[in-house]
Symmetry: C2
Subunit: 351 residues, 2 copies
């Protein structure tokens, strides 16, 4: 291998390791950490962010990606090496603009904010969370100021999630969707009478069912694990170390659909070639693509009639009595009910 | 605060954060990680070790502790600040001698070795683990070569666990102990007929019992958690984030005593003043002191007659039928039975 490329890979591998340690600190905070660990945890993540940021924005990485233009241009655009050099250059140029202390402050505020959010959510107390939103916004403005002005300020933030996409393009997509969706929801909301009822659906049965569905999709205990948390997410600590989370409410089956959603994220990360492990290419390439995978499994497959027919006998076995009068077809209609709803609030508040 | 001292504290805080991330990676590997995550995990820990090592052995820390001699000498020897400067200097001088790549190689070999050990242990297959011992020994020899020769080579390694203690001193202690212990064991082994039997003791009951004992000693779910693993250990991710681990065998009550042992380590770390958090003083000061705490709770308290009387009704409630004929006094004798045994092998092999 080209020596410069080997050095680049080595340096990027270290940054990936530091970033993964940060992901583990985050996952652990949401899933495992005893509550009193929160105060010092915020310092831990701030340091990991600062060190990863400093290492990645090092002059030497910039020199290497400049130096490697000849290699990049000699290779097909989509080859791993050309893509590695190109994506590293793009990310390096952005990261360079942001002072490590600002990146660390954002990460620290997120870690502290998430603790405040968990408490505020439980107590339905927006006021106690408001200062964290203010701080977040203030830091985002500092972040924006690191970049050349764009057509719209949000372009700069959007680029972190959908590289290259502009706010105006998203608005256009949403405008077209709104045109059809708003009347569609008005027309269909409340027209479905099928209902899965309020159980109770004991947690053990929900867990077993979530695992059964995910296993049918590609989950295995060699490379994945499932835990519960306040708001479901999926974290990848490597292509063969994927952490799915869900939450269990005794009176609904949200956990089943959240498992199918999160395993979609997980399968996308698990499907990355191990050859890309420890590089900036070793992860999903945008939030939009990620969400396309999670919603494929949750909605296109998980809420399909064939899948409902497959899971129906497992459901009635897991919750004897609770769903006896529901046919697979009624279950299919019930889980495709259309209604406006909120996310990131207590399920109790939504119903 | 003195500006130099503030800078020192800031730098040491970052090193503590990196080292804690490493501890979390280790804990996670032993307790949570899906097995296929092991390959890339070894790279993660090697990087964290290298970066923490580099940051701590930085020239600037050496300059600061030299510069701060006036502050150190103006303060009482045992004051936090004088101790911080003194302990940092001692650790810095040792760390400087070891190349970061060697430290990283040792950490990587340990992470890979532990995976090999888990498999070898399960299969009772020493041969498959032997190469890891060889590698470990080879790396230890490289480590030894970083230091000035001592009276005995082991002095250098011992100093990492018992700062300032020499092998000859330990030998003297062991010689005196051997003199009394060997005949004592010969005399008492097999003389106790009381036995707790082979249960079965279901895991849920053991867990409840372990938590009851630990809670009586100071465990609370705000700052501690309990999980199961292959060989019990305790990990501190902060003075208020202590991870106790144990293992459950259906046919013995080892988990109860391992919980009491590990909570001893945990309480020692939990008892550190939060003012020392994120400094080299924020942890137990030697393996010997640590073990004195764990064995205090496990043996002096946990195997005492008053404690056996306290736990006996909880035992019989947790395992109905299994211990009905055992009085508290017989339980006390059974758990103080003296017999030679091994550690770090399958319990089945020992009996």
């Amino acid at each position: 291998m080209d020596e410069r490329l080997a050095e680049l890979r080595h340096r990027l591998g270290e940054v990936s390791d530091l970033r993964t340690a940060l992901s583990l600190l985050d996952w652990d905070q949401m899933v495992m950490m005893p509550p009193a660990g929160a105060a010092v945890r915020a310092h831990r993540v701030a340091t990991l962010e600062r060190v990863a940021h400093e290492r990645f924005s090092d002059d030497r990485i910039g020199e290497l990606v400049e130096d490697l233009r000849d290699v990049e241009e000699s290779l097909p655009y989509d080859s791993d090496d050309a893509s590695l050099i190109r994506v590293t250059r793009r990310d390096w140029e952005k990261t360079r603009r942001v002072p490590p202390d600002l990146a660390a402050a954002q990460t620290q505020a997120a870690s502290e904010g998430v603790e405040a959010w968990v408490v505020a959510r439980e107590n339905d107390d927006y006021a106690s969370f408001r200062p964290w939103l203010d701080l977040h916004l203030e830091l985002k403005h500092e972040y924006l100021a690191c970049f050349e002005p764009a057509d719209e300020p949000y372009d700069i933030l959007l680029d972190d999630y959908e590289p290259g996409m502009r706010t105006a393009e998203v608005r256009e997509v949403f405008d077209r969707l709104r045109e059809k969706l708003v009347p569609l929801i008005a027309e269909t909301a409340g027209t479905v009478s099928a209902d899965i009822g309020a159980g109770p659906f004991p947690e053990a049965g929900q867990r077993e069912l979530g695992l059964a569905a995910m296993t049918a999709f590609g989950y295995d205990s060699e490379s994945f694990r499932l835990d519960s948390t306040v708001h479901p997410f999926c974290s990848s600590l490597g292509t063969a170390d994927i952490r799915v989370t869900t939450r269990f409410h005794e009176h609904d089956l949200e956990s089943l659909f959240s498992c199918m959603h999160e395993i979609g994220h997980g399968l996308y990360e698990h499907g990355v070639s191990p050859a890309l492990e420890r590089t900036p290419l070793g992860a999903g390439c945008s939030s939009g693509l990620h969400e396309s995978q999670s919603r494929l499994w949750e909605n296109v497959i998980g809420r399909s009639l064939p899948f409902c027919r497959w899971i129906h006998p497992r459901l009635t076995a897991a919750f004897p009595g609770a769903l006896d009068s529901l046919t697979p077809e009624q279950f299919h209609r019930a889980v495709n009910k259309v209604q406006p709803s909120y996310i990131r609030v207590e399920a109790d508040e939504v119903t």
